[in-house]
């Protein structure tokens, strides 16, 4: 598979993300500069973490206006896979590919630590190598990861089974105490209705090797690979 890692001014997880794809999985990663519009025939777009445009105005607010994002939106709307992590998730919310918005963490602290999330679906391109109920140890690192949407939108999200990951305790129970930032319904990872766009606050690319403390993030990348290979086999 060929993954396009978008680089905005202020992105800082682009190298880690490319490493997970290339160094760990042995697949191809290309960097896509925010001023470009050519997606270079990639199979998946990765919007990495960081502080695009210094988080000016709102997180992700200016990244949305980059030339590359018009191409990314077209790609997503025609069914292409898009994975946004942390700031990438915030960009997906700002550009409307995912519903809702982020507000500052409940306790107004930047949180940088390993948390646990429960996998809610195993039938998506991002989770077909996982099982429902799997508990993944993946780090978070953010100040604005408190997911918010109005009641009607939350109800719609739940009806459509759009939640892929929820903050949980080490046994997989979704509790208020295991919610690090105050997110509505413990939402840590959210899909669009088509299931081809995923935004998540935890960093799977930082949990792909034992030396980093966890390999639980690898499942997300392996799922995408499996999905793409399955699709290629059908052609």
């Amino acid at each position: 598979m060929r993954v396009g890692v978008v680089v905005f001014p202020g992105s800082n997880c682009d190298r880690d993300s490319a490493w997970a794809v290339q160094g760990v999985l042995g697949q191809e990663a290309v960097y896509l500069w925010h001023k470009e519009t050519d997606l270079q025939g990639v199979d998946m777009i990765f919007l990495p973490g960081g502080f695009s445009y210094g988080d000016y105005l709102r997180t992700g607010a200016f990244a949305r206006l980059s030339p590359i994002m018009s191409s990314v939106i077209d790609f997503a709307e025609s069914g292409g896979l898009v994975l946004g992590v942390c700031n990438g998730f915030q960009v997906l919310l700002e550009c409307g590919l995912l519903p809702g918005a982020m507000i500052p963490n409940r306790h107004l602290r930047f949180i940088c630590r390993e948390i646990t999330v429960r996998c809610e679906r195993d039938d998506t391109p991002f989770s077909n190598s996982l099982r429902v109920g799997d508990v993944l140890r993946i780090p978070i690192a953010h100040f604005e990861g408190n997911y918010f949407a109005d009641e009607a939108t939350i109800a719609e999200i739940e009806d459509n089974n759009q939640v892929l990951f929820r903050y949980c305790d080490s046994t997989g129970d979704v509790t208020p105490e295991s919610n690090p930032n105050g997110s509505s319904n413990n939402i840590a990872g959210l899909l669009n209705c088509g299931g081809n766009v995923l935004g998540m606050m935890p960093h799977p690319e930082r949990a792909c090797e034992d030396i980093l403390g966890s390999e639980d993030g690898l499942g997300v990348f392996e799922s995408v690979l499996k999905y793409l290979e399955g699709k290629a086999a059908l052609v």
């Binding site: 105005l57 918005a101 507000i103 963490n105």
Partner: protein, 85 residues
């Protein structure tokens, strides 16, 4: 064409949590300012706009505030135009 000065105030919607406002309000109480009963944080933008009338200016600024300055999912805005400069 005239130049109008405008102020756009962006506030979180009443239904959206405002941890910053809450923290400020708690700090004020600790400092003894118990008469302050609530604080909501927000942002203010000062703009100057060239337009042929105040009405056109208002129309354009409303669009700018909606499209860029605020996120309608979580925020409301108020627009004030100070008039011809």
């Amino acid at each position: 064409m005239s130049i109008y000065k405008a102020k756009v105030t962006v506030k979180k919607k009443p239904t959206v949590a405002d941890p910053e406002g809450k923290t400020i309000s708690e700090a004020l109480a600790r400092l003894g300012h118990t008469e302050i009963i609530s604080v909501r944080s927000g942002k203010v933008f000062h703009l100057e706009i060239e337009a042929d009338s105040e009405e056109t200016a208002r129309e354009k600024l409303n669009r700018v505030a909606e499209d860029i300055l605020s996120n309608p999912v979580i925020e409301n805005f108020e627009l004030e135009i100070a008039g011809d400069r």
